[in-house]
């Protein structure tokens, strides 16, 4: 069986998150074997990051814009579309169908513009502190971690960690929302990640969304009354993939 040759258009579709997994693999194999194509791809990736960086310096929205937005929400939320929530469901189904049709895989990491909830800042701070503790001889890590005890005393529900993950440190951090649990973990490929969990009904999305925040990548999501974040040094896409495994696991 001979796979379809990979075209330039497909490499770009790959970059834009438009390919299904099968074709992604084809493109990755192609890039792994073709140094020149890989170089161009990295160049395009660099361009995208630069343009996003250039677009990050928006000042706060002016108040008249916020009130115009609120008026529009109110208008769309009632009137002829009274059953808006129901229709939204219909729209979602339509979206699913369209996505299947076009094999669109949206990389959540691309949703860079949404403002992350406040606890994400705490998660990044906790991650930095975790790295610092690890580097300091006088700060003793607490690798013994008892999820049951944490849940009993803080009501923080800890998601089940992948079997190969090793907890290297567990700390309770104060946060605006109350006590938060932070675990530093080592993954099988020696990556250091931080899992942050706080009992708070934040406006984090149910599906993980990844952002770059102060030099680290954070994927954040909510599960009922719990808000979670995974922080690490990798690209947002990579962190997001890690976060997805938790969410899939929970279902």
């Amino acid at each position: 069986m001979h796979p379809e040759p990979v075209t330039e258009a497909e490499i770009q579709a790959y970059l834009d998150g438009e390919l299904d997994l099968g074709r992604r693999l084809e493109v990755e194999s192609h890039l792994a074997a073709d140094a020149e194509a890989a170089h161009i791809f990295m160049e395009d990736l660099r361009l995208r990051t630069s343009l996003r960086l250039l677009a990050t310096d928006l000042a706060d929205a002016p108040p008249e814009m916020l009130s115009a937005a609120a008026r529009l929400s109110a208008r769309l939320g009632d009137g002829p579309a009274r059953s808006f929530r129901k229709l939204w469901g219909g729209r979602m189904m339509q979206g699913l169908a369209a996505a299947a049709l076009l094999m669109i895989v949206v990389l959540p990491g691309r949703d860079v513009q949404a403002r992350p909830p406040a606890y994400v800042g705490d998660a990044v701070a906790a991650y930095r502190t975790g790295l610092l503790r690890e580097a300091m001889a006088s700060q003793i890590e607490t690798p013994r971690f008892d999820a049951g005890e944490v849940q009993r005393s803080t009501r923080i529900r800890v998601p089940r960690l992948p079997a190969q993950w090793v907890v290297t440190d567990a700390q309770i951090f104060p946060s605006k929302e109350g006590p938060a649990l932070q675990l530093m973990v080592r993954t099988p490929n020696a990556k250091k990640l931080s899992l942050f969990a706080v009992r708070a009904q934040s406006d984090a999305p149910v599906a993980p969304t990844a952002v770059r925040h102060e030099g680290a990548s954070v994927a954040y999501w909510r599960e009922g009354e719990m808000s979670y974040a995974i922080t690490g040094p990798e690209a947002p896409e990579a962190i997001d993939t890690v976060a997805e495994t938790f969410v899939d696991d929970a279902v």
């Binding site: 075209t7 330039e8 258009a9 770009q12 579709a13 834009d16 998150g17 438009e18 194509a37 170089h39 161009i40 160049e43 395009d44 361009l47 630069s50 343009l51 996003r52 250039l54 677009a55 310096d57 928006l58 000042a59 929205a61 916020l66 115009a68 937005a69 609120a70 008026r71 529009l72 929400s73 109110a74 208008r75 769309l76 939320g77 002829p80 808006f84 929530r85 229709l87 939204w88 219909g90 729209r91 979602m92 339509q94 979206g95 699913l96 996505a99 076009l102 669109i104 949206v106 691309r110 949703d111 860079v112 513009q113 949404a114 403002r115 999305p205 149910v206 599906a207 993980p208 969304t209």
Partner: protein, 180 residues
């Protein structure tokens, strides 16, 4: 995997789209003040036309296309594009605080190349690369076929690349005709 719109509807939904609208407006106008004026006007226009909004349509594409059409209307009326061309690169001032000197130089260079792109190329790059729309959403926003979006995107990327990389890619490109 996440599908757009799964997060559900709330009154914050439009507020959450504001950065996207403003970013896109700025890519089009290349002027922060003009961009916010355009967003403000688009919100008012959307309010007037709320009854034409069909919930099965993506709210994001709907708002972005209202904004886009307003921009096109303005351009026709005022020839403001020419005036702005004279003010190129104002946009990139003051946002080179990220990273070191070398990075600042690179970012400034990219900003200049971006601003020199024709408007329809700025539009697709902004929608897809920066604002994270899918090809399909971008096509809906711009009211053109997906194939046109893709060929514009490829041309825009080719123009943004380093001169050497652009040359190498030219040899790699298969097809790439602009359907419009």
């Amino acid at each position: 995997m996440r599908i757009w719109g799964m997060s559900g509807w709330s009154s914050h939904e439009i507020e959450r789209e504001l950065p996207r609208l403003r970013g896109y407006a700025r890519a089009l106008t290349r002027d922060a003040v003009a961009a916010d004026d355009l967003v403000q006007e688009a919100l008012l226009r959307a309010y007037e036309r709320a009854s034409t909004y069909r919930p099965e349509r993506s709210l994001r594409s709907w708002l972005l296309s209202i904004l886009h059409n307003l921009f096109i209307d303005h351009k026709r009326r005022e020839g403001s594009e020419q005036r702005r061309n004279a003010r190129l690169s104002l946009l990139s001032e003051g946002l080179v605080a990220h990273g070191g000197q070398e990075q600042a130089v690179f970012l400034r260079e990219i900003a200049a190349r971006f601003e020199a792109l024709p408007e329809e190329h700025r539009a697709v790059i902004s929608l897809i690369s920066v604002q994270g729309l899918s090809y399909h959403e971008a096509a809906t926003t711009l009211g053109v076929p997906v194939g046109t979006v893709m060929s514009r995107l490829h041309r825009a990327r080719a123009a943004l690349r380093e001169p050497q990389a652009a040359e190498a890619a030219r040899l790699h490109v298969v097809g790439g005709k602009d359907a419009s």
